[in-house]
Symmetry: C2
């Protein structure tokens, strides 16, 4: 607590040199940004189009191409100084049409179908599927302790649930997700024939959550699915009754050749320091189910809204402000990687990058990875200007996957932090749809990002 | 801002005398409360029963009686020191089965049906309905300026929308609701024959929002309906084309004799100061549509959960802690009034009353009406203990309708403040259903209330 109070005092001390007049101007400017966002916002209707007219848009899909062209056109309409595409080759994985899984048990006739989704990047099963006994583990450590003898020829069932005691659900996700990302290769190394992963979810329902896996170079590639949380509970309880039960899974996903795709970039040129760049972004691609609404349609439309709001305010930025719609966050991060590569080649100086990729819920703050302490303190000094909008969690730590590759000794990487409670109920599921997004919550997020961009532009970092 | 910083400093100064050890104990206790709430909570399943097995429960209805008996049994199960019913006679209004409204316009054939709900307490129309020309106003002031000549014989259409620039939506509600509560009588005084009120809503959809009206003693009682926001927009735009269009409404609600009902009260007796009472409550009744989930099933189950959590922690309170399920908040406030009357008769000393009646969304803080400045400062001093749970908005102003009548020179009236963005999308509509409640958000709210009750009990007010 004392540490926190010290920060408040320090922040106040740093805030004072701005002068009461500047603070008052800033507070009025920010108030007006929110007013426009809440009464003349454009992002909700944009999101409706992206989610309902284009829909799910995995990298390499026709829908991803449509999302590129749509966001280019949307930014063209805004009369920005420049709108352009940045080429990037993306992986192209397709789910196939044969996804099926069932619990096979002498006491259950017929086999009991369960809801699964192939993990993104999974290889296929044999055409008729594979059926094997199941070994349930709570994580990779337990798997390793079991060793080859007990794993060989089996399907490994990773069933460690979210730790619900975390107040911010992202921490529960972080504590469980290794089962999905590394589990398949760790199981493959021990001779497993397939993997079933409990969905990375805050809630209990019938919707499986997909998400990327990472096959290690030194491990056999075995097929892997996510099972819904209800399905996982069922499988676990049936295993307690009959440890010899078998699991059947059939998948026919495919890896196709890489596809040419794009990051979509719009910018307002700075009037005084055009070489200092502030990025605000989200990712255009989504998983191939649902509508990619909270992940990350909301980040895309909020980022465009930041530029639109500043233009509507008649604000002429000193620095260059860019909205970047990154491609391929979900299964490759090629867009974020490419953007940073090109920036480096061109010697561009990014002073801040803000990413919205945690859902379009009520804003709570920003998580910051700053290059040095004075930059942290400069950002913390703006807390009193942001607090009236519920932005209290302006804290150390955070950023975003797409902006991560920009990290250097100059840039502040900043993750927009919305309320986290509902995100992992729908993340990577067929349930991530437009109707889960609240218009005001979405608009408050765009305005919050615009307010921070304004302060960074006006005062530098 | 300076004022705010001064409060922080003052709060810190007041917090220090507690001592670092006590603070640490409190912080551990509160952390454990949240852990239990999030992993062994009971409130979500209780809410499922209340909303789905009992459902909507307007005062005087059989469902309201069921809710009384259910909550009594739920508290009996908890092994409290005392569970009892407090008799209260409640009004009994029923909606009837003939609710219908339509826009009648020579250019629209047949008449265009629109979604309405009678306002709670409205009188009926003639059996065949009433049809009249419409005069649209933005509020009571504009209505009064029009005067009798322009209003006589017409249906008055109050169409002032929510001011969306408020960050906390309750303020927008507060700025619009006089149209619903006082509008019918003000229109009646000027000779209007009926009233249509734009729904008190943050969003735009087809669901009308009901809610209570208050007929003045000196005004003719005319029938009144809420129209959905989409219906209001339609009516307004059609009126611009044809100011002679007519509105048809047919309602057959009835006032029946008052019914005997109850506040339901459970308490843990204080071990040191049993005569000092801390109340935590919500209201059992709801409107007669939807399921009364966020209004106020969540407040009811959170209040019971506070007692259950403290018992599960093995906490023996110094003071008496009561959960009160108030009856008849929606259309009479008889339960809250009765509770305060009885408390006064018995000379009971209430030191704090916390009400949850703003939805079961993610907790943001508490709004406080304290009897004096030291009490405010004592409550503010606990901010550092509550901030880790996102409870930043611990502010002056607030309370609750049911606890309002307890106001005296001793009691702190405290309103639980959840995130407000979604509440007025569903408030008083058929859409206020169990599926709109997120389990973790609900549980975080119960834990937040329990944490505050614990601190008040331990340190007094």
């Amino acid at each position: 607590m004392l540490t926190k109070l010290k920060h408040v005092a320090l922040a106040a001390a740093l805030a004072l040199p701005l002068g009461a007049l500047a603070q008052n101007q800033d507070s009025l400017f920010i108030r007006k940004l929110y007013n426009i966002a809440l009464t003349q916002g454009n992002s909700y209707e944009q999101l409706r189009y992206l989610t309902q007219n284009i829909g799910a848009r995995l990298s390499g899909s026709p829908q991803a191409a449509a999302a590129v062209e749509w966001s280019r056109q949307e930014m063209e309409k805004m009369g920005l100084d420049r709108v352009y595409l940045q080429e990037v080759m993306v992986p192209h994985w397709v789910r196939g049409d044969k996804e099926y899984a069932a619990i096979v048990n002498s006491r259950i006739t017929p086999a009991r179908e369960v809801n699964v989704l192939a993990l993104g990047g999974s290889v296929a099963t044999p055409a008729n599927g594979l059926t094997a006994e199941v070994v349930e583990v709570q994580g990779i450590d337990e798997l390793k302790k079991l060793g080859k003898k007990k794993v060989q020829g089996k399907i490994v069932f990773f069933n460690r649930p979210f730790d619900q005691t975390h107040i911010v659900t992202g921490r529960a996700y972080g504590g469980a997700v290794d089962q999905r990302s590394s589990g398949p290769s760790e199981a493959g190394k021990l001779g497993a024939v397939g993997v079933v992963v409990r969905s990375m979810a805050s809630n209990t329902d019938d919707f499986p959550h997909t998400g990327g896996l990472r096959y290690a170079d030194d491990a056999p590639r075995i097929p892997a699915v996510a099972i819904s949380t209800k399905g996982a509970d069922l499988l676990s309880s049936l295993l307690k009754e009959d440890e010899k039960l078998r699991f059947h899974m059939r998948l026919n996903p495919q890896w196709l050749p890489d596809v040419l795709s794009y990051n979509v970039i719009g910018e307002i040129k700075g009037s005084e320091k055009p070489d200092e760049i502030i990025v605000v972004g989200g990712h255009l691609d989504s998983w191939d189910i649902g509508e990619g609404a909270h992940d990350d349609g909301t980040g895309v439309v909020q980022s465009m809204e930041v530029l639109r709001l500043l233009k509507q305010m008649g604000y002429k930025p000193k620095r260059t402000i860019r909205a970047v719609m990154f491609m391929n966050e979900e299964n490759g991060l090629r867009g974020g990687t490419k953007y940073a590569e090109v920036a480096k080649q061109r010697g561009e100086k990014h002073i801040a990058a803000i990413e919205s990729d945690a859902g379009g819920f009520t804003p709570r703050g920003f998580g910051i990875t700053a290059p040095n302490e004075p930059t942290f303190q400069k950002l913390f000094a703006w807390k009193p200007l942001l607090a009236p909008y519920g932005l209290h969690d302006i804290e150390r730590g955070g950023g975003g996957a797409d902006i991560g590759p920009l990290k250097d000794d100059r840039v502040a990487l900043i993750g927009f932090r919305p309320d986290s409670q509902r995100y992992f109920d729908i993340h990577h599921t067929a349930n991530d749809t437009f109707d889960k997004v609240n218009k005001r919550e979405l608009e408050l997020g765009g305005a919050s990002m615009a307010a921070l961009v304004y302060l960074i532009d006006k005062y530098g970092l």
